[in-house]
Structure formats: structure tokens, C-alpha cells
């Protein structure tokens, strides 16, 4: 799982999990999840 997360950080060109989290938030990924939970 560690490698998995590292690969994601590399693809997103961020240095840390926190930056990845912020990026995910900006990209609207967290909203999508919320919507799918509410809708499903």
C-alpha cells in the first residue's frame, strides 16, 4: 500500500500526503464521493 500511495504522489507531482489531500479536495474528488454516498 505504501508503494501504491507513493505512486499516486508521484503522478500528482506532490511531495506529501497532505498536499495530495489538498489537491484531491481542489479537484473535487471528495465532493464526488459525498454525492455518490448521498445518491447511492
Amino acid at each position: 500500500m505504501k508503494d501504491h500511495v507513493s505512486a499516486i504522489l508521484t503522478k500528482l507531482r506532490v511531495a506529501s500526503r497532505v498536499q495530495a489531500a489538498l489537491l484531491a479536495q481542489r479537484a473535487g474528488l471528495l465532493d464526488e464521493r459525498l454525492r455518490s454516498e448521498v445518491g447511492g
Binding site: H4, V5, R26, G28
Partner: protein, 228 residues
Amino acid sequence: MALPTGGCYPAVWLELQLSGPPGPIGALGSSRHGPDGMNEGQGERVIRVVVVDDEALVRSGFQLILGASEDLEVVATASGGEALETVRRARPDVVLLDIRMPDVDGLTVLRELRTMPDPPVVAMLTTFDADEYILTALHCGAAGFLLKDTEPEQLAHLVRTLAAGGVVLSPKASRTLLHSHPGAGTAVDEEAARVRLLTARERDVLVLVAEGLSNADIGAASIWGQAR
């Protein structure tokens, strides 16, 4: 919340000291000009300013206002078309640049100035505190947004903040920035493109990371997710 209109915004200016004078928040970056950060703003060093505006009245107005402070000097003024050449020659610390000019628009000048080696700090000038180009200008490297009718005393103070490496935003610009939708900026578009490079599974993992799960938790959660 209903916002007052017609020039009676709450006078909240946003000033961010990103670098410059020594202090608790002076640690980020380094002052562009402070030789050793000693006694800045005490008149030891004159801040050189260039004002770029097509209206002669505005140019001389700023010259008078800023020239009244001992530590500030308007070393040159220019219209939009003359801006680049004037800035190259005068080597100012700070450029106050009108965003809307008939001959060359301020954003174009801004982009050109930002390609200079060791470019000056550029703050945009606007007549009305409601400019659709606020975000574009900030994205292009503007360090601030100033109103042309800013009080003289405040104006001098804001120019000092800019020279020290800070960011200065008029009330409306602050609000525009804070309420801006992340989808609009190109930087965010780039990020979105990178997110699209992820596989569906990686995207799921990213969401779990964003929710603060540890690697072990994510491992457990994704196995559980697949089993469903």
C-alpha cells in the same frame, strides 16, 4: 449575507507579509532588497516606484502622494506603451500598473514585466474595486490590487508592504480571491489533468488518503471495498 454596494464595502484590506521585516512571520522566503533585514521602513533605503497609467493626472497624483514619504520615490511614470522600456531603465522596486489602458492592457504589460530577470514587484491599479481580471492578474504574478482612490497615507503603507515582499489586496479583490471557484484557474486545471492520470483504484486510494487514513487503514478499507 447582503453586501453593501456602491463604494461602501467594509474597508478590509488583505495584507500578507510573505517575507521582509524580521518578525514572527518573516521566515518565509527572503526580502528582495533588504540587505540584512535591519530597520527596513525606517528611511534607510528609498523604495523606487514606477507608476504606469495612461492618465497624466493619475500619474502625477501618485507621484505627489508617494513622493511625500521620505522612504518612497516615484522614479518614473509611463503610459502602457512605454511601460516596459521605462521599467527596464528605471529599475524600480515596485511597479503600480493600471489594469485597463487604451493602448496596451495592463495584463499584457504584467506578463512582459514578469519575464524580466529579477522582475520588480507589480501591483495592479484599478478605478473600481470590482475587476474581472483580479484572478488572472494574480495568476500572472501580480503581488496586489490597489484602488486608485486609496487614502494617501494608506497608499504609502501598502507600497512599503509590497516592497517588503508582501501581498496587498483591496477589499473586493480579497473577497474575489477567497470566493473564487477553484475550477477556473489554469493551475487547478493542470492538477485536474494529473488526477485523471490516476487509475480508478488509485483515485479511490487518494480519497482515503485525503480522509486521513493511514496506509494500513487504506489497505484494509480497499480490500473490504473490493470484497463487496
